[in-house]
């Protein structure tokens, strides 16, 4: 579409209809007959809790995923988006969390990066003039010659939005645009979004933050478990109603907690800082309890765990485990003090995917399985088989490669590596059931509860309300690196947790 260059302004007002789109991944129905209608000149919010189907919907709209059934109609004509380029040709662009910015380029260079129909080379001055014009359209003052790496996070986001505009996008999808922004930066971005919409562009705004949804959106669509709950003008929603639609009915039953005499170590955190997200985080965890940190992306909850275990650069503060001070920021010190960490991203940081179940389960136990550096292979096999049984890895021998397992079984292997050691440890789990099926979840919850019952203390991070209520004794909600509220799991509700993790509130005592 090189011809688009000649008439840069006023495309007809867009009307995109999503008609009965369904998409399943294996047994999981990610989208189930979802329909909605997006028009130029409005900001259309998409709300839904984890697993609601938001990201699958975005992938369908940008050509990354092909729906099983249903159709997309653009201005009344049916379109098929087989890849990202085709979506771009139809004027649909996504601005997601940190893509499309190349730190080493200047602003004007990066503004036209990867556009379909862009000539191989263009004159420098021409590029800069077009860049300046685009930025002016957004009403922002950014030097087109500045290097992207020197920009603030908010400015980068603005450059990305300008990038989308430069593609003559008629529909811009903003996926969690404020996750990495400060309050002030978010304001500037939102103003730019309003300006863009005033020109007739459509914006699809995906956010966990309800305050922002109410501030920015003209219309809101709520998804839950892959299904459309409602799609209405924002004026017809109130905050409580929206939360209720997102979480569904309050029909949650608490599960029995196992308690034994063994009590895990007491943990005392003072002024933990994990740059750039967490500035000051203090928490007392009574021995043997399970604390759930509830926080969306950018809340700093995962960073708290990484700070404790020494994986985050520049973490500082005071950590005491059972009265003993533990040096922060150095992995081996944390391990010696009995801190065990299960990362959230099992593929990149958790498992050794192409190694056997046995190798994964015994990875951190090789020391105790060996004498003078020689590993007793029979002992190793025995330990691995025993662990595999404890964590209920089904249908596989311990020699099978981990990559051949289902997500749930993989997660169990990862847990198995950490669990069932000695009592008296501090166990940290980041999103322990990400991408795990229902049966696997139940197994994993049982394991974590058993570990706490056997004399360990647990802190876990989750965004899933049921998981927080199921597993935690105390739910601590976080927003932008700070604690918003501490809630007793037995006396709170899903709606309350969700409300507390989607806005900044008073910092609790």
């Amino acid at each position: 579409m090189t011809g688009a260059d000649s008439k840069p302004s006023s495309p007809a007002v867009l009307h995109l209809e999503v008609a009965g789109i369904s998409k399943a991944y294996a047994a999981v129905q990610a989208l189930d007959e979802v329909s909605l209608s997006v028009r130029g000149g409005e900001v259309h919010g998409v709300c839904g809790h984890n697993g609601a189907g938001k990201s699958t919907l975005m992938k369908v709209l940008t050509g990354l995923v092909q729906p099983d059934t249903g159709a997309l109609r653009l201005d009344g004509e049916e379109i098929e988006l087989r890849d990202a380029k085709e979506a771009q040709r139809h004027g649909i662009t996504i601005v997601d969390q940190e893509r499309g910015v190349v730190p080493a380029l200047t602003v004007s260079e990066s503004l036209f990066l990867g556009n379909v129909g862009e000539p191989f080379m263009r004159r420098r001055r021409e590029t800069r003039e077009r860049a300046a014009a685009l930025l002016a359209r957004l009403g922002v003052e950014i030097d087109p010659d500045a290097k992207v790496r020197d920009l603030q996070a908010g400015e980068r986001k603005l450059v990305e939005i300008a990038h989308a505009l430069g593609r003559e996008s008629r529909l811009i999808i903003l996926d969690e645009p404020s996750a990495s922004l400060s309050h002030g930066e978010a304001r500037i971005v939102f103003k730019a979004v309003r300006d863009v919409v005033a020109e007739g562009t459509a914006v699809l705004f995906v956010s966990h933050r309800l305050d922002e949804v109410f501030e920015l959106c003209d219309r809101v669509t709520v998804l839950r478990d892959g299904r459309l709950v409602d799609s209405r003008p924002i004026a017809e929603f109130d905050r409580a109603g929206l939360v209720e639609m997102m979480v569904g009915e309050e029909g949650h039953e608490l599960t029995e907690r196992i308690r034994t005499e063994a009590i895990g170590p007491e943990v005392r955190l003072r002024g933990l800082a994990v740059p750039p997200v967490v500035e000051e985080f203090s928490l007392d965890v009574p021995g043997g309890s399970i604390v759930g940190l509830a926080g969306q992306l950018g809340s700093g909850a995962s960073e708290v765990l990484r700070g404790i275990v020494g994986l985050a650069r520049g973490a500082s503060g005071e950590l005491e485990i059972d009265g003993r001070t533990v040096k922060l920021g150095w992995g081996p010190a944390a391990v010696r003090a009995g801190v065990r960490y299960v990362p959230g991203d099992r593929k990149s940081e958790g498992l050794f995917m192409r190694q056997s179940i046995e190798a994964n389960l015994t990875a951190t136990r090789l020391g105790s399985l060996s004498r003078l550096g020689v590993v007793g292979l029979r002992g190793r096999r025995r330990v691995a088989e025993q662990l595999a049984k404890v964590v209920a890895v089904r249908d596989h021998g311990v020699k099978d490669r981990v990559e051949s397992l289902s997500g749930g079984n993989q997660q169990k292997v990862l847990l198995g590596r950490t669990l069932e050691r000695n009592a008296g440890e501090l166990l940290l789990f980041d999103d322990p059931t990400r991408g795990v099926d229902v049966q696997g979840r139940a197994d994993i919850h049982r394991l974590i509860r058993a570990a706490a019952g056997a004399g360990n203390t647990v802190i876990f991070v989750s965004t899933e309300l049921d998981e927080l209520l199921d597993l935690a004794d105390v739910v601590v909600t976080m927003f932008k690196g700070q604690i918003v509220a501490k809630l007793d799991a037995e006396q709170t509700s899903r709606g309350r947790i969700l409300a507390e993790m989607t806005h900044e509130g008073e910092v609790a005592l």
């Binding site: 994986l311 944390a334 050794f352 192409r354 190694q355 951190t364 060996s370 020689v374 292979l377 020699k399």
Partner: protein, 330 residues
Amino acid sequence: MSTDAGVIAPATVEETTSRVPLRRHLALGIWVAAALAIVVFALTTGGFATWDNAKAIFLASSYVGLLALAQMLIMTSGNFFSLSLGTGAVLAAMIFFSELGNGIVFAIVLAVLVAGFASALQGLLVGAWRANPIIVTIGANAILTGIILLRTGGSIIRPEKGAPSINWLVDPIGGIAFPFFVLVAATIVVQLVLGRTRFGLTMFLIGENRDAAKAASLPITRTIVGVFLAAGILAALAGILLGASLSGATLSSQGTLPFDAIVATLIGGCAVAGGRGSAIGTFLGTLGVAAISSALLLRGYSEGVQILVKGAILAVVVLAVHLWNQEDAR
């Protein structure tokens, strides 16, 4: 030699997936076709299938094999390859010759220690500061080359007159040259270390996924330094034995050895990305490469053709391995 075809296959056939994707059939097909072509080519070469030729292949394998074991360790630990091992081997041979007057054991120990230390230092940069192994070893290679040229002026270093005899380092035992026994012994030791020790098992994990190893607090620095140390020692052994057979050492005596070693390592089923490799596979890969070279030599092809064929085989191996291991696109 028909063994080289079977080298990768046994390690990977134990897959549990019930549905074998097309690309795996393709990979297997490439393997079988290439192996058959090589076997037929070798067996139809006059003078190939003789005991004398086998002995020649064993001898030629010895030096490449030791260096290949060294590369295999580095590759399996997730650090691609070291480009300074060939020069390290030459350095070891030179130290060996110049210290021969002080006794053969002393000379060997000192040569091995210096080469091992030089390599371990590179391992420290790679292990502790996550420096890029290729760049580190290129730099180290230049430094070692410079030192050697400064000290020797490019001349050949030979044993001094009156130094103890080193013929036993070359002489055959029962018809087979001594260096081959060193290679066999080294293969067995390395295989045991990889499969049975804490160091070896940890090395696989680090090579497979260094971030996960870090999150699990595995001893990354210590292990990678150990890997480079062992690689330096193996290279030193190769250098000493090669020097002994040539009765002298110069920078150019490494020839295509470093390249052959990498080819043998890859053919032996080592994953460039790390986490997979075996001493026995590398040993067989080395024999395979030596057998092909021998067949080409017997047919009277020039060195240019030999290198060309090795390059082509490497390309085929890389393609087959890629097809085999590629992740299924979602």
